[in-house]
């Protein structure tokens, strides 16, 4: 990997100094890759998407030296772009992420660009040699004990899903198969999701991977419907390691909690607020976690309950959660503070 002077040194230092990170900003690492654009239109679009994600990560509390953005032309934005998005640099960035993180930390790898599919292999097009799904699969082995969010928004990206599917890993692809070769719109909406208030479905002030996925999928569907076009992309998400992506994952992971969506719902690009610092606050936070768990359980059982019973129980739990949250907020200093979920 060839990083700009200063960045490389800074990165190494970060790894040494913050190896035992204690906040979310110090446990997350983000690798953004904008591939070969071809037309100026795509070069611009890819950069725009990567910039949105870069800024969202920074705004969410990820330290700038832990956000590595590689692009076709580093001179385009020397403030943000660390280096050229060559095969060698991309692999090196992932390797650095492994070095800079510890087991249990989060590593986000987001690929933006054109994909291709030939000879049974799917690739992301990069300046110079491309990288295939198998290349990434090998490289991500280094992150086996990290929680990895791997997003490929390129055309044909569906071919990556089965290859990269792994327990503890969220894999998002813009298409359902390698055969969907047309230009995709998913990436643009996925990037926008992290800046769009409307993507934050549960209004907790943060956008989870699942929320971003759902937002982008919805916007893509709306686009094709409004324009009366044939749908040429269908995004998938896999986070249970079963090599099967889901087009409509939910935060409960289905009725049994084993389907896709549950892990993705818990991962957010950025820091969560740390809960209380005293025993009473800890007790409230513990109570909140318990109530949240019971709420999820209730929602999972919804189909089997009468509406009246469900609503009564729902209200009981939601009132309890609201009361706990209001107490937590009061202790934290005001209503603007958001509770940990």
């Amino acid at each position: 990997m060839r990083l700009r002077p200063g960045i490389a040194a800074g990165l190494a230092l970060t790894i040494q100094l913050f190896g035992a990170a204690v906040t979310r900003g110090e446990t997350a690492f983000v690798v953004l890759v904008a591939g070969l654009g071809g037309d100026a239109k795509f070069v611009e679009s890819f950069h725009e998407q990567a910039t949105m994600l870069y800024d969202a990560a920074i705004a969410a509390g990820v330290r700038s030296d832990r956000v590595v953005y590689l692009a076709e032309d580093p001179e385009r934005d020397v403030e943000r772009i660390a280096d050229r998005s060559s095969r060698e640099n991309v692999l090196s960035a992932i390797s650095s992420a492994a070095d800079a993180t510890s087991p249990g930390d989060e590593v986000w790898v987001i690929l933006i660009g054109h994909g291709s599919f030939a000879d049974g292999t799917t690739r992301i097009n990069l300046p110079g040699p491309d990288l295939s799904d198998r290349d990434f699969s090998r490289e991500l082995l280094r992150l086996a004990d990290r929680t990895v969010v791997f997003v490929n928004t390129s055309s044909s990206s569906g071919g990556f899903l089965a290859t990269l599917s792994h327990p503890g890993r969220v894999v998002v692809t813009a298409t359902k198969s390698a055969a969907q070769r047309n230009e995709t719109r998913f990436g643009s909406h996925f990037a926008q999701a992290f800046a769009a208030v409307t993507a934050d479905e549960d209004r907790d002030g943060q956008v989870s991977v699942l929320e971003a996925f759902r937002y982008a999928s919805r916007e893509v569907a709306r686009y094709y419907e409004t324009e009366k076009l044939l749908v040429t992309e269908q995004a998938l998400l896999d986070d249970n390691g079963d090599r099967e992506g889901a087009p409509n994952p939910d935060d409960l992971g289905g009725a049994d909690g084993l389907a896709d969506g549950r892990l993705a719902a818990s991962l957010r690009l950025g820091a969560s607020l740390v809960a209380g610092t005293d025993a009473a606050a800890d007790a409230l936070a513990a109570s909140r976690r318990d109530l949240t768990r019971r709420l999820e359980e209730l929602r999972r059982q919804k189909a089997g309950l009468s509406e009246d019973l469900y609503l009564a129980e729902l209200e009981r739990l939601l009132v309890a959660i609201a009361e706990v949250d209001q107490q937590l907020k009061a202790r934290a200093g005001g209503p603007d503070s958001e509770p940990e979920r």
Binding site: A196, V197, T198, A199, D200, E201, D202, R203, D204, R214, Y215, R218, E219, E225, K228, T292, L295, R299, L311, L314, E315, L318, V319, I321, A322, E323, D325, Q326, K329, P335, E338, P339, R341
Partner: protein, 903 residues
């Protein structure tokens, strides 16, 4: 029947002898050879040659003459020629016996025909198979189905014995398969195969191509039918008649008739002319005469239909088809006694003939009598439980009457018997999707809306339908039975199948009386459909059909529906368009006697649309000049069975000619501003969406000159104004554009002056002026989505909130699926009130499943709480928190509501 070896030898020998005979007869010079003349389509010349000179002919020449006379419908001549010869010459039966049978059958002498054909079959000559299938058809029509089936089966046996069959014989086999397809639908495939073989055996034989086309059409596949028939019409394949090798290079009567049927199926106005042409070729072709009568029935010209049917019966008094169409005409005329007599005659002749009731059902549908159509179809399947077309008609009409499960069962039965009927299959496929629809009650209405859209559309559709019901009930002094079912289809193809069984219908809505179906706004491109005016239009049909017991003429029910649209909301309903004025100028608008043709068989592409508008103006004129009570009197008269001619004379005191004169004078007066420019110019506008005046890209200098010289020429003013606008010379452009607007204020098509004036005024900072222009535009254009949105934006900038809300309300009828529209309206009603409208709009936002659903639900809950609906608020806030348990404002609202003790 089992064929035996001697039978086969007899056939081969017989054919050989006949070929020798024909060859000997054809020894005349080329050009005078009657066989060749017939092949070239010169039937009359062939007859001349064959009957000229000394009048002596051998049997082969007689065979040619019989074929020629049959082509011209000269049945009696055939009978006169052949009957004595059968006595004199033992070979005559073999050569011309089958032709005699045809002449006898076609003139209604069925018993004699049967006798002759039986002899031909017994003789096992060259026309054996053709005689068998003709005999089978005759027996079938006479109610002797079992024997008919045995005969038809014997043709299949003959085919399976791998005899060397001619093209005509293979055609007979195909007909047999087709006939037996009623009991075993797989045989329809065999029919196709046999027709294909017949065509391959002799590509010049037109008969299998014509019959194949008719088979495809019977299954509602006009494209394949057209392809099958194409070689015949392009002169490549002559027609075999009566098995004789005669033909015509120009289309024969049956070919023309088949084409007429295809054109009719595809909605082309050429059907009528083609049928008449077919009758010119063979005036005795009963099928053509019957079809002509059917076409007249569709046009609601019942008396003309009666005449055509009677003419057909003069040639063949026992034609079941002709009797059936006559029965339908009598029924539609209200002559129940005459109808009963004919029905008795048909059933006496053939007690199991379901065709009578199928024809009655079809004719009733064409005249919007769906209940009667259902009842006739039920009788069809009662007399013949294997009448698959009867089951199909029954099912379709049950569906039209809202009897969904019964309709499905009938169609399943039809499909089981005839799985190749596209109409039935499409409809069953559609019915399979009905589980995706939500049925809900909204006052007097049963709403059937796709579950994806039901929450959003239901409240708007229910409210508008209720408003329409109340208004129309007062106006028509009639209250249709409820519930009225409204079906809304998010796919236009599904709507089309629901309506006509096939995709591709151009309409937007349909009313079967108390069952309506319309496109959902999501089925159409934004700006091409106003669901509100469409619903109002269709509901008006419910009233006008109801008040006349479905006996209202097509033009009147459509005219009243458009008129009621215009009365319901400003800008709704058709408005005058340049093409209408052109048609007025050219005398192409039809008088009242013919106006139905403009709906049913348009003679130019836009005639249907113009007819709707014209009919609405007729209704408007009756109301303004004679008074609304006279309109109600007319409707009463139609219910009583009176016809238009008599009613206008009795109620309005004017015959139709006088009324037409009054109407056209009214049009000249009403459009006096715009008409002069249409009289002055040679070039026309052809499509409304392309209606910007484009006089062959005129020179701007010429336009400037014309505009100066002709201040009353709308086109010149608009053309010159457009040039100036495009040059951005806005101040100068306003003068001719204003003038164009004054001359033809209703013109709101592409390139209209309002749009340009609004832009010019907006760029000059005159927001109020721009808003005025757009107000005028939307007052005439119910589809202008962009202009409604722009006007709303302008009114927002001008802080004219109430007007803005009004414009956005109108926009809902164009495209209610825009979340922003509802969001803006909710904010406006939050300020202006009333609370229930704010709540309605917030519900719409929720129904559109916005990404920020939790927030939308909270907004709704908050509005409900403010409006005092705290119970509903509590439910909505729970839905919000279910998605976002930590959402602070929603938590606070919930706690507030819980503390308040709201249930």
């Amino acid at each position: 029947m089992t064929a035996e070896r001697p039978y086969r030898w007899r056939r081969v020998l017989a054919r050989t002898l006949l070929v020798v005979a024909i060859a000997s007869a054809a020894g005349t010079a080329f050009g005078q050879d009657p066989a060749e003349l017939l092949r070239r389509g010169e039937v009359d010349r062939a007859i001349e040659v064959l009957t000229g000179a000394d009048g002596r002919r051998d049997l082969a020449q007689d065979r040619l003459l019989v074929a020629a006379w049959l082509q011209r419908g000269e049945h009696q001549r055939v009978i006169d020629l052949v009957t004595p010869k059968l006595e004199e010459d033992r070979g005559a039966l073999r050569a011309i016996g089958h032709g005699l049978g045809l002449a006898l059958a076609r003139s209604g002498r069925f018993e004699l025909a049967e006798e002759v054909w039986r002899k031909v079959v017994q003789d096992a000559g060259p026309d054996d198979l053709m005689a068998r299938i003709d005999l089978a058809d005759l027996l079938e029509a006479g109610g002797r189905a079992e024997e008919a089936e045995q005969l038809a089966s014997s043709l299949i046996t003959a085919y399976n014995q791998r005899l060397e069959l001619s093209s005509a014989e293979l055609t007979a086999v195909a007909r047999a398969c087709q006939s037996l397809g009623r009991t075993d639908p797989q045989l329809f495939k065999d029919a196709l195969k046999a027709y294909d073989e017949a065509i391959a055996r002799d590509p010049e034989n037109a008969e299998p191509r014509i019959r194949l086309a008719e088979l495809f059409l019977e299954k509602y596949d006009s494209q394949q039918a057209r392809e099958s028939l194409a070689p015949v019409l392009t002169g490549g394949a002559p027609v075999l008649t009566g098995g004789a090798p005669v033909g015509t290079a120009s289309p024969s009567a049956p070919a023309l008739l088949a084409m007429a049927r295809i054109q009719h199926f595809d909605g082309s106005p050429e059907a009528l002319a083609l049928t008449e042409k077919s009758l010119e070729a063979n005036p005795s072709l009963v099928e053509a005469r019957v079809f002509l009568a059917q076409l007249r029935l569709e046009l609601e010209e019942h008396a003309v239909a009666v005449r055509e049917a009677e003419t057909a019966l003069a040639g063949n008094p026992r034609s079941l088809e002709a009797l059936s169409v006559l029965a339908a005409a009598r029924y539609l005329q209200g002559d129940l006694e005459g109808f009963g007599a004919i029905r008795g005659q048909v059933l006496g002749q053939s007690p199991g003939y379901a065709g009578l009731y199928v024809r009655l059902a079809e004719s009733c549908v064409q005249n919007r009598l769906y209940r009667q159509a259902r009842d006739f179809a039920a009788q069809a399947v009662a007399v013949d439980p294997r009448s698959w077309s009867g089951w199909g008609e029954l099912g379709m009409n049950q569906l039209r009457l809202g009897e969904i499960e019964e309709g499905r069962a009938s169609l399943e039965r039809a499909f089981a018997g005839d799985p190749y009927n596209v109409w039935n299959k499409n409809t069953l496929d559609l019915l399979d999707t009905f589980g995706d629809y939500r049925v809900s009650q909204a006052g007097r209405f049963e709403l059937f809306i796709h579950q994806r859209e039901a929450e959003l559309l239901g409240p708007y559709i229910g409210a508008l339908a209720e408003e329409a019901y109340q208004a129309l009930a007062v106006r028509y002094r009639h209250r249709p039975p409820t519930p009225i079912r409204i079906e809304v289809y998010p796919s236009h193809e599904d709507f089309s199948v629901r309506t006509v069984g096939l995709a591709g219908l151009g309409a937007l809505g349909v009313s079967f009386g108390t069952v309506l179906a319309i496109d959902s706004p999501s089925a159409r491109e934004v700006g091409h459909f106003n669901w509100g005016s469409t619903l109002w239009h269709e509901l008006t049909h419910t009233f006008t059909l109801g008040v006349t017991e479905h006996r209202i003429p097509r033009w009147l029910t459509e005219g009243l529906s458009v008129l009621e649209e215009r009365r319901a909301r400003e800008g709704w309903g058709d408005d005058v368009r340049p093409e209408f004025l052109q048609a007025l100028r050219d005398g192409r608008l039809l008088g009242l006697r013919e106006i139905n043709n403009g709906f049913v068989r348009p003679s130019f592409p836009i005639q249907i649309a113009l007819s709707y508008y014209q009919a609405s103006l007729v209704c408007e004129l009756i109301e303004t000049e004679f008074g609304w009570p006279k309109m109600l009197e007319l409707l009463d008269g139609y219910r009583a069975g009176e016809n238009t001619e008599a009613l206008f004379a009795r109620v309005l005191g004017e015959d139709l000619d006088a009324f037409d004169r009054r109407f056209f004078a009214h049009l000249e007066h009403r459009f006096a501003g715009a008409l002069p420019s249409f009289h002055a110019q040679a070039h026309d506008v052809h499509e409304s969406d392309e209606a910007a005046p484009r006089p062959a890209r005129p020179d701007p200098a010429e336009l400037e000159r014309l505009a100066a010289e002709r201040p009353d020429d709308w086109r010149a003013q608009l053309g010159w104004g457009s040039v100036l606008f495009q040059r951005k010379e806005y101040d100068r452009a306003m003068v001719p554009l204003d003038r164009a607007k004054t001359l033809f204020p209703e013109f709101v098509g592409g390139g209209n002056p309002y749009r340009m004036l609004a832009s010019a005024k907006r760029s000059a900072g005159d927001l109020a002026g721009a808003a005025d222009e757009l107000q005028h535009l939307v007052a005439h254009n119910e589809l202008a989505w962009d202009e409604h949105r722009e006007l709303a934006e302008l009114l927002g900038e001008l802080d004219r909130k109430s007007e803005r809300a009004g414009v956005l309300e109108r926009a809902i009828y164009i495209y209610p699926l825009d979340p922003q529209l509802h969001h803006e309206l909710a904010l406006l009603y939050g300020e202006l009130g009333p609370a229930e409208r704010r709540i309605r709009e917030l519900r719409a936002v929720v129904a559109l499943d916005p990404p920020s659903r939790a927030e939308a639900l909270y907004d709704l809950a908050a509005a409900l709480a403010e409006a005092g609906e705290r119970g509903a608020a509590r439910r909505e806030v729970l839905r919000s928190l279910e998605l976002a348990p930590g959402y602070d404002p929603a938590q606070r609202l919930l706690l507030d509501l819980v503390r308040d003790g709201t249930q």
